[in-house]
């Protein structure tokens, strides 16, 4: 294990995770809203927002799947040291982390069961940028409609059609975070 794996955690876990969770909860409750989430200083390749989210929500109880280039030794070591979360394959994942293309296909993740729709995976999608433009969103948490720069459309529509089953998504870029629960209905934004 590299020494760098030992650094970059929360300095004041209780306060920083509480503040991070408020932002995380707010974006999940309000799809399309972009918040700032900080506190973690994760290894190269992993954003501040994704790192802070992992520190806030993951522990030995949660299996984390690392996809593509993020399945690296520095990321594994950092995650293991700071959260104790076991690294697992996609079908066993409570959380899956990676670039969009690396996370596909979505069909490999748990979507819950009829009686326990909560036993489903949450995907953390690392994006180069996150803006309130692109796909139009409607559904719970959204007053009229919202827009978010989703990396695709069809997979999210298919996921929403599974409701109350399905995956939920966080999108991270730098220290920014947004979310898309399974209840959100994404549509192409009509041309102006």
């Amino acid at each position: 294990m590299e020494l760098t794996a030992l650094s970059g955690g929360f300095e004041n876990t209780a306060h920083q995770s509480a503040t991070a969770f408020r932002a995380i909860m707010n974006v999940m409750a309000r799809p399309g809203v972009i918040e700032t989430v900080t506190g973690a200083v994760p290894p190269k390749g992993l954003s501040t927002a994704a790192g802070s989210l992992l520190l806030t929500l993951c522990d030995p109880e949660t299996g984390v799947h690392l996809a593509g280039e993020l399945d690296s030794e520095p990321v594994r070591d950092w995650l293991t040291f700071h959260t104790g979360a076991p690294i697992v394959a996609a079908p066993q994942a409570d959380f899956a982390l990676g670039a969009w293309d690396d996370l596909l296909p979505l069909t490999q993740y748990a979507i819950g069961t009829d009686q326990y729709p909560d036993r489903s995976a949450t995907l953390i999608v690392e994006l180069p940028a996150l803006t309130q433009s692109g796909v139009t969103l409607t559904g719970p948490g959204i007053r009229d409609s919202a827009q978010l720069s989703l990396p695709a459309l069809e997979p999210f529509r298919l996921n929403a059609a599974l409701f109350p089953l399905g995956c939920d998504f966080f999108f991270t870029a730098g220290d920014k975070i947004a979310a898309l629960p399974r209840t959100t209905k994404p549509e192409p934004t009509p041309c102006m």
């Binding site: 876990t13 209780a14 306060h15 995770s17 509480a18 503040t19 969770f21 408020r22 995380i24 909860m25 707010n26 999940m28 409750a29 309000r30 806030t56 929500l57 993951c58 522990d59 109880e61 949660t62 409570d94 009829d114 009686q115 326990y116 729709p117 909560d118 489903s120 949450t122 719970p140 948490g141 959204i142 007053r143 409701f163 109350p164 939920d168 629960p181 399974r182 209840t183």
Partner: protein, 289 residues
């Protein structure tokens, strides 16, 4: 350093509760199981709500706690003190100033805003429980959207009383999918559940968390012939004159004299401060009591 973790709960417990809250928001109205912890207060005191509040609070929050609309009951005061001590958060009785409001049995009269979180203490989270005592069965009924029995129960109300008599914990359907117990709020409050704030529900003894995101459809169950009505006692608040609030009947003297007053004490006081005076009220600040 204090003897407690921030907001009392250890970090692993808070993570577990936080994950449950996120699932609850993603599946509105669905009861997410969680491993409830022992809290330094009895179950009847809202340990579920307390755990949800503990998992949500940040050091910057201002907390309000109400019990049946009042900030000054033993239960409300104890919970407020608990978080003052363990989380060092600011506290308030003013609805508009609070960022997190923990409630037992009421929704504040003043509409909540986007920056607020309403945490409900829930005694029995399962709306189908009185129809079917077995958890395995109610879970199946939710999975299959088998809510016919609930309508039968409401319809029996109508045939017996000529109307739906259920006055508290009146069941709602959330976003057209899950039937949910809104906790024992008066049905007068049901229409307020379509709001701008995040609503979180915690049941400690029953180990369930559920949630309603802002701007989510919340429909009180009813029938075409007997539409839902958000009823309340007729009349106006004796102190502030409001005729649009939920009223409590209180005994005012030894001779059994009664009057109706706003159940939301902060709202009533704000109205009186603003100059509204009810039939038995006195100008604000000139109370004999």
């Amino acid at each position: 350093m204090s003897d407690y973790n921030f907001a009392y709960l250890d970090e692993q417990t808070k993570r577990m509760i936080r994950r449950a809250i996120l699932k609850g928001l993603a599946i509105p109205g669905y009861q997410v199981p969680f491993a409830s912890r022992e809290m330094p207060m009895p179950y009847g005191w809202g340990t579920g709500g307390v755990q949800v509040t503990a998992a949500c609070l940040t050091p910057d929050d201002t907390l309000k706690v109400i019990d049946q609309g009042a900030d000054d009951t033993t239960n409300a005061v104890s919970i407020r003190r608990f978080f003052e001590k363990t989380a060092a958060v600011g506290v308030t009785q003013a609805t508009s100033v609070a960022t997190v409001i923990q409630t037992r049995h009421r929704i504040p009269e003043e509409p909540l805003n986007e920056d607020q979180i309403l945490v409900y203490q829930v005694p029995i989270p399962e709306p189908l429980r009185f129809l079917e005592p077995r958890e395995t069965e109610t879970r199946k009924m939710h999975a299959l959207e088998e809510y016919g029995l609930m309508h039968v129960k409401l319809f029996e109300d109508i045939s017996q009383h000529g109307q739906i008599a259920t006055a508290y914990a009146y069941p709602v359907k959330v976003e057209g999918r899950y039937v949910m117990d809104p906790s024992p709020i008066p049905r007068f409050d049901n229409p307020k559940m379509e709001m701008s704030a995040i609503q979180l529900f915690g049941a400690g003894r029953e180990q369930r968390i559920y949630a309603i995101p802002p701007y989510t459809q919340v429909v009180s169950l009813d029938f075409d012939d007997y539409p839902f009505e958000a009823s309340k006692a007729d009349g106006a608040c004796a102190l502030c004159g409001a005729d649009h609030t939920y009223l409590d009947e209180v005994i005012v003297d030894d001779d059994g004299g009664r009057m109706f007053v706003c159940s939301d004490t902060d709202y009533c006081e704000s109205r009186r401060q603003a100059g509204h005076i009810g039939e038995q009220g006195t100008p604000y600040g000139k109370d004999a009591a």
